[in-house]
């Protein structure tokens, strides 16, 4: 378990302030944040390499506020690997390992044994990351701290390394804190997501919950939410309706009237060329398609609704089926529960 309460630290002019989060024992925590948000510093504070200036850190139930790095039971993997350049690959992997057979098995799992004999200097960036991962895991740590550990791997090896790390995490019962700025990685790996920006935790919780229910418009935009509107909720005949410029949308009945922001994830919006048949989706909009772009495996279609833009996401297959073009008229529908207010 990694439990931080009001954690503070300073490196030069950068400060981490009031960092609070919990990654329960055996769970996989993902720290997401832009460059310079303090992700690496946070890992170094948890590792004991950067001293805390305040707050409390508990690792597996023990107060680790003043514990030295060698007694914390951690494995740390930096993005750049930080392999020991005067040692061989094998010596790097076994550096902190008490059980050489286990270290060898970890090296095999990550394919590192294939270049055991090579010099550290001859390794590619991806190979360095795999050696650094193996070195950290070979020690059988209780806690694993990963700082963008797959960033230099090509996509197939990255996917394989992710699967392997998740598997070792489960087998060893590790508690992991993994820094990334890849939302897909965060969604697929994490049990707990921690959003960090400017040295502060913006939000933490289950990834699905954080992605669907961002606490602030900033978090929503940070997480890539396409439809964020400023406006307010009013009660219209016993129903809660959110208004923002030309848009009026039904929201969950529990919404409290007053100014707020509405967030609708593009994936929650259905798109059609014909007038949709009545369904439980209470919000319907029609408009002219003003933009169609690809975003990874998805297509984002933007329509203009009386001057406001709404974005819906659809798969390549659906996009082919609909055969939409800029200038066409399209219909967007989504449920009242898809509108998240904050």
């Amino acid at each position: 378990m990694i439990s931080a309460a009001q954690l503070r630290a300073r490196v030069g002019v950068f400060t981490l302030s009031d960092i609070s989060f919990d990654v329960p024992r055996g769970e996989y925590g993902v720290v997401i944040g832009p460059t310079g948000s303090g992700k690496t510093t946070l890992l170094e504070v948890v590792a004991g390499l950067v001293p805390q200036t305040g707050g409390r850190l508990s690792l597996n139930g023990r107060d680790a506020t003043h514990a030295s790095p060698d007694t914390r039971g951690i494995g740390l993997v930096y993005q750049l690997g930080y392999l020991f350049p005067h040692l061989s690959v094998e010596q790097n992997v076994t550096y902190g390992a008490a059980d050489s057979a286990f270290a060898a098995s970890i090296a095999r799992r990550f394919g590192v044994h294939e270049f055991y004999a090579r010099s550290v200097h001859s390794l590619s960036g991806g190979e360095r990351q795999l050696v650094a991962l193996s070195r950290a895991l070979a020690r059988k740590p209780d806690l694993l701290l990963l700082d963008e550990p797959f960033s230099a791997l090509d996509p197939p090896r990255r996917a394989a390394a992710r699967r392997e790390v998740r598997a070792v995490h489960s087998e060893l019962g590790l508690t992991t804190l993994h820094v990334t700025h890849d939302f897909a990685e965060a969604g697929s790996l994490g049990d707990v997501a921690i959003l960090l920006d400017g040295g502060r935790v913006l939000q933490s919780g289950e990834p699905a919950d954080v992605f669907r229910h961002p606490k602030t418009p900033y978090v929503a935009e940070f997480l890539g939410a396409e439809n964020v509107f400023a406006g307010g909720v009013v009660n219209e005949g016993g129903e809660a309706v959110f208004h923002s410029g030309p848009l009026a949308m039904h929201v969950a009945g529990s919404a409290v009237p007053g100014p707020c922001h509405a967030i609708i994830r593009a994936e929650e919006i259905l798109i059609s060329r014909a007038v949709p048949s009545p369904s439980s989706a209470r919000n319907q909009f029609s408009g002219r398609v003003i933009q169609i772009v690809t975003v990874g495996p998805l297509w984002h279609v933007t329509i203009d609704v009386g001057g406001a833009s709404l974005v819906a996401a659809l798969t390549t297959y659906s996009a082919d089926e609909l055969a939409l073009s800029v200038g066409d008229t399209a219909y967007f529908t989504f449920k009242a529960t898809a509108v998240h207010l904050c």
């Binding site: 390499l49 790095p69 930080y82 020991f84 350049p85 902190g96 070195r135």
Partner: protein, 254 residues
């Protein structure tokens, strides 16, 4: 073109006197090693005292260099200034200062004398003078050698179970070793070439630089030349050592 000419002229100015000296008396100097017992003793004394001064500088200076490279502490700028001091003051002045501190008339000098340690006019005085002028060079070089080792490597070693000392011994020391040896060699060469401070603190027994001066003032240029040439040959040892280590290009570190 102008820059090339200027650079060549400076290089010639630096190398020609030494070449001229060795050409004029190198062979005689080498021959004198067999016939001149005083020169042999002087060379041995110089090498031994310089080695002792370098070892003291290394043992006491390496921790200081590590602290300066790794830790931000109150008074760090002051420590750095103190280390620059011996490089800035004229060396006879350094000799006089050391004489005041360690001479028979001083409290420290008389205390050491009561313990049987005479400084002035002994090899200990030579070592003290050499240490004063060469230790800052060692600390400065060692500090750079430590700074070139990324602190995150030590950090990773700590997370892998190393105590601070083990991380230093297993990671930092091996990676800084070339730089430390280079600093030691430079420090040793500086100690060998010292004259100003030594001549005041310990004219006798004579190190080679003092012997050169002594022969020059007592017997003239012809007698001083072979000794001077022998000193140049002794000074070539560290230069050769540096080349053998391939560290003259600053390739030490990570």
């Amino acid at each position: 073109m102008l820059a090339a000419v200027a650079s060549s002229l400076l290089l010639l100015f630096l190398v020609l006197p030494v070449v001229r000296l060795v050409a004029a008396a190198g062979a005689t100097g080498a021959a004198r090693l067999w016939s001149d017992a005083e020169l042999r003793q002087s060379l041995a004394l110089t090498a031994l005292t310089a080695t002792a001064a370098t070892l003291i500088a290394a043992v006491c200076g390496a921790p200081l260099a590590w602290l300066l490279a790794r830790r931000a502490f109150r008074g760090r700028a002051l420590v750095a200034a103190i280390l620059d001091l011996p490089l800035l003051i004229p060396h006879p002045v350094a000799g006089i200062a050391l004489l005041l501190l360690l001479g028979r008339g001083s409290a420290l000098g008389s205390s050491l004398l009561s313990l049987g340690l005479r400084i002035v006019g002994t090899p200990l005085g030579i070592i003290a003078a050499m240490l004063f002028v060469s230790a800052p060079l060692f600390v400065s070089g060692a500090r750079e050698a430590f700074a070139r080792v990324d602190a995150r490597l030590e950090g990773v070693a700590r997370t892998l179970g190393d105590t601070p000392w083990h991380a230093f011994r297993r990671i930092t020391l091996p990676l800084a070793a070339r730089g430390l040896i280079a600093s030691g060699v430079v420090s040793w060469a500086r100690a060998v070439s010292e004259f100003g401070a030594i001549v005041i603190l310990a004219y006798n027994p004579k190190v080679v630089s003092v012997l050169t001066y002594d022969r020059f003032t007592g017997f003239g240029l012809s007698e001083a030349l072979p000794v001077a040439a022998a000193l140049v040959l002794l000074s070539l040892i560290p230069l050769t050592a540096l080349r053998a280590l391939h560290i003259e290009d600053g390739a030490a570190g990570t």
